[in-house]
Symmetry: C2
Subunit: 648 residues, 2 copies
């Protein structure tokens, strides 16, 4: 390794150690990083010493080099930890030992390696060699036709194809044979390297896992199916083989460990488990498992179907600002930003802006955008050994909101029905067009599949379905639900009970609850005037602002025109009819003790003609997590954020 590279490696490892400590990461993670740092320092020492050996003492170069020698790497605690060290420790220790052999030895080894590692080729040179290391720098226009691993099927038998893929595994068998498992996302195929002479087989055997290769070969039909590969009915007989990117020989985590299912782990306690923090620290590797390939392609599909349905219904997509001048909607749990000498805040939701967009005559709007919550609360829901490190924090501090808001004519159920149909469109889309991703995503954690089947949706997503749930709940009697004060929200237990009833009645894990108490909803929620506890009209409405106003105190006991949508007993959407009368908005805010003066633009937007409207916000990661039955919200966030995690 060059001295520059070794120096950079030391700097990078040092930074990682500092970051992990700052994040309060698990002890083992910090220790592993410290070992990596020590290994990097050893490599640097070796590189510098080798350079010093070929440099006359006393020259300026010699002094410059000598100054680069790092402080002695002290592998303290390494031996003590050996037995219970995770794989990272072993890798680091091995790297450290290898580095300590010294650069001279390494130089010798490199000369020996070169024969096996093959020549370095430019794109111009590749046709002259049947194997080698190919660096692609766009020197030649694209001319080849490429075949995906997924497309390797028996009908291609006899054809010669180019495939670019990762080497999942490389198994040499004797001098003339090497099997490569090629992988592209969720698909794998077996490539057979067979050559009685030459170095093609030797070259194939040196390829570290996860390296990227270009393979030219003939598709053949094996006598027996290749059980270990998704493309089990074919093999690829390799004629030419180029390494496009050679992976480091030691991976921070093994993909086969990360890919195991709960069942496999339960059946064999000796198997290596990869905990959530290690996964997130090396997220790019972790994301390569088939389950994660499925999860994040499904996440994309959720957004696609959400938007596709709403666009078909005449919605306009908006983009509201994320930096706002005032800590709206309460002010707690909001992140502060330094904004040219004053304070700005990160938007906790696009709520006020999507309503303002409606008042600006956009009529039906949606937004897909990040939302920010500075919440620091601890959870008690998940306490298992594997998730305790990250599940200390119940909420992510940043997630993706799928928000919608629309005007309606007579009743906010027009909007609730739209939300309901949106969910159905999303579920139908996933079930109909993403079977492969669903199977991959559900492999590691199986959960009941009693939800979102198109047939169930066809018959059960209308007003009648909601009525039937109410009947069944009534039939269980009042004791089945916890007693609530008029101003209390539902508890988790009640939510789960309702989930069970829905599953019984409808064979699916999706339901809506309507009419929450005004006390547990935001100030801009429209009270339900059909509730007798609602006292209207209070006063003769002012001519400019007709309509009844709520009575302070008693109004809070009343229901409001608000709703939540649940999957598997957990909320994924919250929404309501909003107050569109500016006077009533002031009254409601006063009742809740909310100061509206910082958001006068919002209040003003209702003063010049306001359409009745309602809407809701959907948590993207929650929908993906609950649809798939994943155990942790971080599994459905590509690079999750919580109070302790800001990296990667």
């Amino acid at each position: 390794m060059s001295i520059e590279a070794a120096e950079a490696a030391v700097a990078s490892s040092g930074q990682r150690v500092r970051d992990l400590k700052a994040e309060g990461a698990a002890k083992e993670a910090v220790e592993a990083a410290v070992l990596e740092l020590q290994a990097a320092k050893a490599t640097l020492t070796a590189s510098v010493e080798a350079a010093l050996a070929s440099c006359a003492e006393g020259t300026p170069e010699y002094d410059v080099l000598k100054a680069k020698l790092p402080p002695a790497a002290k592998p303290k605690g390494k031996e003590k930890k050996k037995d219970d060290a995770p794989q990272n420790d072993r890798a680091a220790a091995k790297a450290a030992r290898a580095a300590q052999r010294g650069a001279k030895a390494e130089a010798k080894a490199a000369t020996k390696d070169e024969a096996v590692l093959g020549p370095n080729l430019s794109q111009a040179e590749m046709d002259s060699a049947e194997f080698g290391n190919l660096f692609i720098q766009s020197t030649h226009a694209a001319t080849r036709a490429w075949t995906g691993v997924k497309e390797l099927v028996p009908s291609l038998a006899g054809q010669q194809v180019w495939v670019r893929a990762r080497v999942a595994t490389s198994r040499k068998q004797g001098k003339a044979l090497c099997f490569l498992q090629l992988r592209q996302s969720m698909h794998t195929a077996q490539a057979v390297v067979f050559a009685k002479e030459g170095e093609l087989v030797g070259f194939a055997a040196t390829l570290p896992r996860e390296s990227v290769v270009d393979v030219f070969g003939e598709v053949t039909l094996p006598a027996e199916a290749v059980a270990s590969c998704s493309q089990s009915a074919v093999e690829l007989q390799v004629r030419r083989l180029y390494c496009v990117s050679r992976a480091m020989p030691e991976l921070p985590l093994q993909l086969e460990d990360a890919a195991r299912s709960d069942e496999q782990l339960a059946a064999d306690p000796s198997l290596t488990r990869v905990n959530q923090d290690v996964r997130l620290n090396h997220r790019v590797i972790d994301l390569r498992t088939a389950a994660n390939q499925g999860i994040f392609r499904l996440q994309s599909a959720v957004c696609e179907h959400f938007r596709g349905f709403l666009l078909s219904q005449g919605f306009t997509e908006i983009h509201s600002p994320k930096m706002i001048g005032t800590a709206s909607e309460g002010g707690a749990d909001v992140f502060r930003v330094e904004y040219f000498g004053r304070d700005a805040y990160l938007a906790q939701s696009p709520q006020l802006y999507k309503q303002m967009a409606l008042m600006a005559d956009l009529d039906r709007v949606f937004e897909v955008a990040p939302v920010f919550r500075s919440e620091n609360s601890l959870t008690h829901r998940h306490g298992t050994i594997f998730f305790h490190l990250c599940e200390c924090f119940r909420h992510m501090t940043e997630f993706v909101g799928l928000d919608m808001e629309m005007t309606f004519f007579e009743h906010y159920h027009e909007v609730l029905d739209m939300l309901d149909r949106t969910f159905c469109a999303v579920f139908d889309g996933l079930n109909q067009s993403h079977q492969e991703e669903l199977a991959a995503a559900r492999f590691t954690r199986r959960c009941e599949q009693r939800l979102f089947t198109p047939s169930a949706l066809d018959s059960e997503t209308d007003e009648r379905a909601r009525a039937r749930i109410r009947e069944r709940l009534d039939a269980r009697g009042p004791e089945s639900l916890a007693e609530h004060a008029d101003t209390e929200d539902m508890g988790t237990e009640d939510e789960k009970l309702l989930g069970e009833i829905v599953a019984e009645l409808h064979g699916q894990d999706y339901y809506i609850i309507d009419k929450f108490p005004a006390a547990v909803r935001p100030f801009y929620t429209m009270p339900d005037p059909t509730d007798p506890r609602w006292c209207a009209p209070l006063s003769r409405p002012r001519s400019r602002a007709p309509g009844p106003r709520p009575s302070p105190r008693r109004g809070l006991a009343a229901r409001s025109n608000s709703y939540d949508i649940f999957i598997r007993g957990e909320e994924v959407t919250s929404g309501a009819q909003r107050v569109h009368d500016p006077q009533m908005l002031l009254d409601c805010a006063k009742e809740k003790g909310v100061d509206l003066s910082p958001i006068y633009s919002y209040v003003d937007s209702f003063k010049y003609g306001a359409m009745p409207h309602a809407g809701g916000g959907i948590g993207l990661e929650r929908v993906v997590m609950l649809f798939l039955g994943l155990p942790n919200i971080r599994k459905s966030s590509m690079f999750p954020r919580d109070p302790k995690r800001l990296n990667p």
Copy 2:
């Protein structure tokens, strides 16, 4: 007005004055707000005094009320300003005078008003009255069929329809006739209220502009076309009329002023102009103009076609974190966030994360998300009197990035072609399906339409088109382009010249420039090895990291595999092939003096097998602005942000 409401109005107006001052808003804007505040205080005084009059002196209530009296409102400078005051001033002064008449007088007036303003109705009561003020609180399920203003066409003649719309204007003609212009987004229709007896006409005449009404009436065919309305071939004979939301009588800006075209304003200097700051301060009203209705529906359509095309090409949508642990990509111009006792930063682009997503085998990804730039630079491009207030700041601090990144096989032009086809899909989509919005958006500012016609795109979007541009540029001779040092970027003048050539040759204002100097691109940009100033190979590549490395210094003079896309001579997209070799990345960063240790996760992501890849980022607001030829980036941002503006 109730005392509570008056107090809230004072608080809100006071906050607005403080905000405007903090933002360094124009003097006139601040003065107008001060007058509003004074008017609000006068109203409060009047309300309190009225209450005091009906309250015995010496009682606790009396003292509480008395304490509410605000400090005397001193309308200093009001008279002096009268002549050149904007409409806001006149409104505020009028409101102040009205308020000062006192609450007793107002109460009398209200009783008189009630006859004209009509009864207040609940949804249950509306069938019993042919007009009135209807407050919609979702007490009754939706039962009516509603017709859009756009749908009012001659084929409906003779039918009775329900329409909900805004009252754009109300013109009473005698006792028995009133014309209402109804508006829904970009569409208007004339409603005729004719009644020889009863108060229907009087009620219609009291409706302030922008109020929302429900109209039930019969579609008829007028003898002459209604030239003032988009639905000129029909009229609506009003049978029943309900005010769903009554607007304040004085608007902060008049829609007909805000809607005028540049030509109209140039032809008649006496017309009221609405400057950009007033528009943005009252954005919800400003957005109701037909031009803005068109602009923001087109903005939505740009996103729709961008995503639709990329999804059709196998892309996956990702969501990368916006709060990041380190100030990546340079560190300047980055916003700092307080993050649980330490610092986080707002992402300036999803660049590093979209590359990491590719390294995680997602292969082709895109993201539509806000990006944040703490840029404080002043512009000199636009100095006109109408835009000087907001155009002091060249850049918005928050905008929407349409980012894409994909692996390629042999040459980064595979990716550039994908970007090119993406733009064509967007342009085609807009031109083919959004003619109405285009016409509305282009009304206020006409610009040449020599771009993005499907026929031009069909023949001119391939490699040949790019070659022809180069020929034409060569034909003009070297003197036509400014002399550049090897390490300099193109200047604005050169960009415009190229724009002219493209327009001459291809009849459109869209072009791509390829191969920028490495010196003006970020450290992760792949150098162009075909440039003779590029010195490769420098050293024997290490077996783990094959490939040539750039020579420090001389490498910066070389071209890089990077490109920009332009519309009307301004850049809308920047992109490049990225360095996918970790050793080369370290070398390039070192050459640029970039410290990679804080972003080790990014560097590490290339160590375990990396596919060659390229991508680009598109500024949504810039595409909309330049496609439509708008004069100001704030015109294509719904709620723009710059160093002085954080509201609304």
